[in-house]
């Protein structure tokens, strides 16, 4: 029977299927971090259980860690306890951990791929909703809660209900200055924050095939912002080349490759839903509201809620404009920014830093704002420094930080103040996401860089 890619991977991982019950799925890789794991390890201890497969498990410290002074003890005692708890749990249960200061420490979704642990056809989970990132390799990867983290630690499986499938075809070619971030922001604006709910999305089409691995990760990363637990892209030569020289690339590469080449949606397979987007029509895209679907092309205006027909959408837009301190009808390019954040599991990889550095090189950021550049992992930081990107940012007046989730979420020292407005390459513009009372506009690394130079939301074309 013809199958979609998601169905193939699903079926290959069924440990047990019984009528009227969820399928029991085997998990190939479990990623752990400090925030969603302590209660899971506690559960194991209470029940006297071991971690079934420490050799399929890996941990790092990312969410609550500082990005400055990482050689000193973490100043916030509650954060320190959480990190110390992860260290103690990993030591007790034999789990590999990359701690602050280690070259493989960093945002969990940057670490997996850079180590070559993320490979096509795998099932990958983590107690973090942006686990969908790994779908860029043609893996079925999704975020889970802490009860499920405990379940995977104990059994290396999860009981799951088979999701529906959605194809998003991105046809045509992107214009210069338009990036994968703009693709995904436009998709979310089109289908809404609940549009992908219950589905695994497969991103297809010419424009997706043309993307680098790192750009593909940006697209898959934000699948959850459209409500889809997982988003994936069929692996191809771009994928295989990316994995080949990574530390955990298969020793028997040919055997792996022979399998990876079977990972595509069969020609006559049917998706439950198909959506088509034309890449030629896309422009740099930014958000104006307080959920990731409230976005618009940078060259347009803050929408007028009165123009929205749907009562829910109108109410949400009215509330969002009040929170964001914006007037309906104002050009998005007139919005003055206080902080530019370049980083996160969405856009904290080396290509993102290179793209921004190219815009900024030899120039100074606006005196009215600050810019934080936070590499997604210590390895990315070292790579950037080897290329001299750190100097580009520092000479422009930006802050060059250590790896972590940083300002993507307000749980470490990098936060917005009340009323402070950010252009952020991260993934969520929720109220208070980057700090209580903070205001977030989601942007691509190119828009972040141009905005840093001009002080208002801008693209490189405006320079």
């Amino acid at each position: 029977m013809a199958k979609t890619l998601a169905e193939k991977i699903w079926d290959e991982h069924i440990v047990r299927a019984a009528a009227g019950e969820p399928d029991l799925l085997y998990i190939d890789l479990h990623l752990i971090h400090e925030v969603t794991s302590p209660q899971a390890f506690d559960g194991l201890r209470l029940a006297g259980r071991a971690v079934r497969r420490p050799d399929l498990t890996i941990a790092t410290e990312d969410h609550n860690v500082p990005t400055q002074n990482i050689d000193r003890p973490i100043a916030d005692p509650v954060s320190r306890l959480q990190v110390d708890t992860l260290r103690a749990n990993c030591a007790e249960f034999g789990v590999r951990l990359h701690s602050l200061g280690d070259k493989d420490q960093g945002v969990v979704h940057v670490v997996g791929p850079q180590l070559g642990l993320t490979q096509p056809g795998m099932t990958i989970v983590c107690g973090d909703s942006h686990t969908s990132t790994h779908g860029a390799f043609g893996a079925l990867a999704f975020g889970i809660g802490t009860s499920e983290v405990e379940h995977v630690l104990a059994t290396q499986t999860l009981p799951l209900v088979r999701p529906k499938t959605m194809a998003i075809n991105v046809e045509g070619a992107l214009k210069l200055g338009v990036t994968s971030k703009d693709i995904i922001l436009a998709i979310i604006a089109k289908i809404g924050t609940g549009g992908g709910q219950g589905y695994v999305i497969e991103y297809r089409g010419e424009a997706i095939r043309a993307l680098s691995m790192e750009s593909r990760m940006t697209v898959c990363n934000m699948s959850i912002e459209a409500g889809a637990r997982a988003g994936l892209i069929a692996p191809d030569q771009t994928t295989f080349d990316y994995i080949q020289d990574k530390p955990h690339a298969p020793y028997d590469f040919d055997a792996a490759l022979a399998y990876w080449e079977t990972l595509f949606t069969d020609e006559d397979a049917k998706f439950d839903v198909e959506v088509t987007i034309n890449a030629d029509e896309l422009e740099p895209f930014v958000t104006w509201g307080t959920n990731p679907a409230q976005g618009a092309p940078l060259n347009s205006h803050v929408p007028n809620p009165a123009d929205l027909e749907d009562d829910e959408a109108r109410g949400a837009a009215e509330r969002a404009l009040i929170y964001m301190g914006l007037e309906a009808g104002m050009p998005l390019k007139n919005i003055a920014i206080d902080t530019v954040f370049l980083g996160s599991c969405t856009n904290g990889r080396i290509e993102d830093l290179r793209a921004a550095a190219q815009v900024i090189k030899g120039k100074k950021i606006a005196s009215t704002l600050r810019m934080l550049v936070v590499p997604g992992s210590a390895r990315v930081r070292l790579e950037a420094e080897a290329e001299g990107l750190d100097k580009v940012f520092i000479e422009a007046g930006a802050e060059w930080r250590n790896a972590g989730c940083s300002m993507c979420l307000g749980m470490n020292p990098d936060q917005l103040a009340i009323g402070e407005r950010a252009a952020s390459t991260s993934n969520r513009n929720f109220e208070g996401r980057q700090g209580k009372g903070g205001r977030t506009h989601l942007v691509s690394p190119l828009v972040a860089a141009a905005t840093a130079l001009r002080g208002t939301l801008s693209s490189p074309a405006d320079l």
Partner: protein, 199 residues
Amino acid sequence: MEKFIKHIGSAVPLRRSNVDTDQIIPAVYLKRVTRSGFEDGLFAAWRSDPEFVLNNSAYSDATILVAGVDFGTGSSREHAVWALQNYGFKVVISSRFADIFRGNSLKGGLITVILDQSEVEAMWLAIEADPTTQISVDLERRSVSYNGTDLEFTIDDYTRWRLMEGLDDIGLTIKNSDSIDIFEKSRPHYKPLTLPIRA
């Protein structure tokens, strides 16, 4: 986990859509390493506004939250479920929940009930007219009843059975550990291992 058969209580109307888990509990409250005490962080930003519905003493005994569409979007933090439970909620009603939040809630015994948006709106009006309105959520009958209105909801048989028996998934899975052993024997040799560490 406590068995859930039926719950009767009063409700609080949360007339907001797209309530993401960062609103349910902001990240700064996620640093505890226990499962308790998260009620402090529940809707923390909104609770500083005296007009916020949870601050209305008429609803102080509520154990059922009736929310707008797309409740629980965003982060996978199960702390959102714990915060609602620690605060005293037993049931959340909405016309649509985000997948991860719904999964987390049903694992932990917080019952999430999906009703049509028109039914949610009728319920909001009834609760606002009389905050003491008693709402009965019956998992056995798969029904929500109040003021003579009787609404049916769907929940899959397996999850309903597990909640009514108060069973946790891990115990159920371990009963099938033979099938896990068998599956592991057939895993391809080229699948990556995190150990030993390769530099």
